[in-house]
């Protein structure tokens, strides 16, 4: 069995209890909604884009510890970044949580910085959708997409 402490690291729990940049952004010129109805995770990501760079970013909503902490830390990491840098970081993050990132530190990991606390998610495949919801929502917001984003399969039965 994978280790629970690998998933629920202190940093993740702390962010889930006290999320950063957790507010509606008055200056936002982009926003997108992410919703995983099976879990009930529901977030809005707000962006203040100036030209190519993210001047400010925030989020609001509710969800599990993993999804909330991921959203919180994403906003911290992306403030001041360009679109291309954000896309690159998402790519690294996605590889990290899906276990496609090499185990020992390399360039990707260095770039990910404290986001590496999410590496434990790769041992819990059903939780990948939680960790990536905010990021997919951000991507939609950057692309100006109107549809609500989901990282889970809609079909499900009792």
């Amino acid at each position: 069995m994978p280790d629970l402490r690998e998933l629920y690291q202190e940093v993740i729990l702390e962010h889930s209890k006290a999320p950063r940049n957790y507010r509606e952004l008055a200056t936002a010129n982009h926003r997108a909604e992410g919703y995983n109805p099976l879990c009930g995770d529901h977030f809005t990501v707000y962006l203040d884009l100036e030209g190519d760079s993210i001047r400010d970013i925030s989020f609001q909503g509710s969800g599990c510890a993993i999804s909330k902490a991921s959203a919180s830390m994403m906003t911290q990491m992306l403030k001041g970044k360009t679109r291309a840098e954000a896309a690159r970081l998402f790519d690294h993050f996605h590889k990290l949580v899906t276990g496609q990132s090499p185990a020992n530190g390399n360039g990707n990991r260095a770039e990910l910085g404290k986001l590496t606390v999410f590496s434990g998610v790769s041992e819990f495949p059903v939780r990948v959708k939680c960790a990536t919801l905010a990021w997919h929502t951000l991507q939609a917001s950057l692309e100006g997409k109107q549809d609500t984003v989901s990282t889970e399969q809609p079909a499900h039965t009792e």
Partner: protein
């Protein structure tokens, strides 16, 4: 083991089960379910997700494999030995279901894929024939999506209206509101017998009485009821009663629609094909009699036979014994879980069966589920395919432990310890 020996073993095994009847011995019962010996990582499996699907006793597994080993052939067609055997077994299963529900006649038992298909069948045949623009379908606020969406589809097609009986804060159906919402435009009432998200037992007999006074037929969704309660469709005078085999220890892919023969006879067929006809020309097809009119195509014979074995198994233990055991277990779970600081139970109706839905502080149910899973404890987290119930309580999801006849007090204790662990992780 030879097949004959297997059959003997199965028969003596059933005799064992009958003995238990008097004093329900849960440890003995557990030995009938091979999967309960399974380990999850280094833990014993604690399976508390029975409202999603139940585990299968050896008797059911054997009945299905023996069907394929000994009797498999297509039914109602061949003159050969195996076809006769298969037909006999399949129709024998129908008879067992008839007695299980106390239906007046075996031809009132239609085999379908599950409760969902049964409800769709009724909506698309009885509903489509009888609903006009402006008519109403009455359901409750605690229906599973399978007893909402088929009616929505029908209402949309017909320009009819779906009306919803509210539930109280404890998760009980508001009977007065039900009486008030029934009117001259109400063409059918569709109501759950036991709520899958809350565990509430709905007083279906009262509801049916009230509806019948207005000459409104009632469909009862018994998916969560048949594993826990004795059901008598004639005593409650239900017009339609549906359930899924896999929730009552049978396999997936098999379920039952019970309908009063007068209603079923008046309904057009649901699907066309083989077996549902008595004669076909390009000009005209004459439909077969009940129940075959509604069983187009080769049915799930093994599933039906497995369901028959599941019913035999349940009967062998005695539904009264099962209900008494589960009632005690649910009471114990309710008491011990609600004593944990930060617990909020969702669904506190006086009459409940099988389900304990809860929240823990502001911890998301999905996190609870992951941590319990590490302890080998399987529960369900999410909206339980009953999103309107979640909306009613202003929540996104719950954690749900649901019980079956093989669950024990020790497993409830494991659940309580698991929840304590969740509290520690999130302390």
């Amino acid at each position: 083991m030879t097949t004959a020996a297997k059959r003997l073993a199965r028969e003596s095994h059933l005799a064992d089960v009958r003995e238990i009847g008097a004093g329900f011995d849960v440890q003995k019962v557990r030995r009938d379910f091979p999967i309960l010996r399974r380990r999850v990582g280094d833990r014993n499996l604690v399976y508390l997700d029975n409202a999603a699907t139940s585990q299968k006793p050896q008797a059911v597994i054997d009945a299905i494999s023996q069907y394929y080993e000994l009797d498999n052939a297509n039914i109602h067609r061949g003159v050969h030995f195996l076809s006769e055997r298969a037909t006999e077994e399949y129709e024998g299963a129908r008879k067992k279901v008839q007695l299980f529900l106390n239906a007046a006649d075996a031809s009132e038992i239609i085999f379908v894929r599950g409760a969902t298909e049964a409800i769709n069948l009724v909506a698309q045949t009885h509903g489509r024939t009888n609903l006009r623009a402006g008519d109403e379908v009455l359901i409750s606020a605690m229906e599973h999506h399978s007893n909402i969406v088929p009616w929505q589809i029908l209402c949309e097609e017909k320009g009819a209206r779906l009306r919803v009986v509210p539930i109280s804060d404890s998760g009980e159906l508001m009977l007065e509101e039900f009486g008030r919402l029934m009117g001259p435009r109400t063409k059918i009432v569709a109501i759950t017998h036991v709520s899958n998200a809350l565990g509430t037992i709905v007083p279906v007999q009262r509801i049916i009485e009230m509806a019948h006074r207005e000459n409104i037929p009632v469909l009862v969704d018994g998916a969560q009821a048949v594993p826990h309660l004795k059901v008598d469709v004639q005593a409650v005078d239900s017009d339609f009663y549906v359930f899924s085999g896999h929730k009552v220890y049978g396999s997936t892919g098999i379920g039952v629609l019970y309908g009063k023969s007068a209603l079923l006879n008046a309904m057009p067929p649901y699907q066309g094909g083989g077996d549902m006809i008595s004669s076909v020309t390009f000009e005209k097809t004459t439909y077969n009699k009940l129940p075959y009119k509604f069983e187009a195509g080769t049915p799930h014979m093994a599933g039906a036979i497995g369901l028959g074995a599941a019913i035999e198994y349940v009967n062998g233990l005695g539904m009264d014994n099962i209900a008494a055991h589960e009632h005690k277990l649910l009471a114990y779970a309710t008491e011990t879980v609600s004593a944990i600081p930060g617990i909020r139970l969702i669904g506190t109706a006086k009459e409940k069966a099988g389900v304990l839905s809860f929240l823990l502080d502001s911890i998301h149910p999905h996190d609870i589920g992951t941590i319990l899973d590490q302890e080998g404890i399987a529960i369900r987290t999410g909206h339980h395919c009953a999103q309107p119930v979640m909306q009613r309580f202003g929540i996104a999801a719950t954690a749900r432990a649901s019980f079956a006849l093989y669950n024990t007090r020790e497993e409830v204790d494991a659940l309580v310890e698991g929840i304590q662990k969740v509290r520690e992780v999130f302390a």
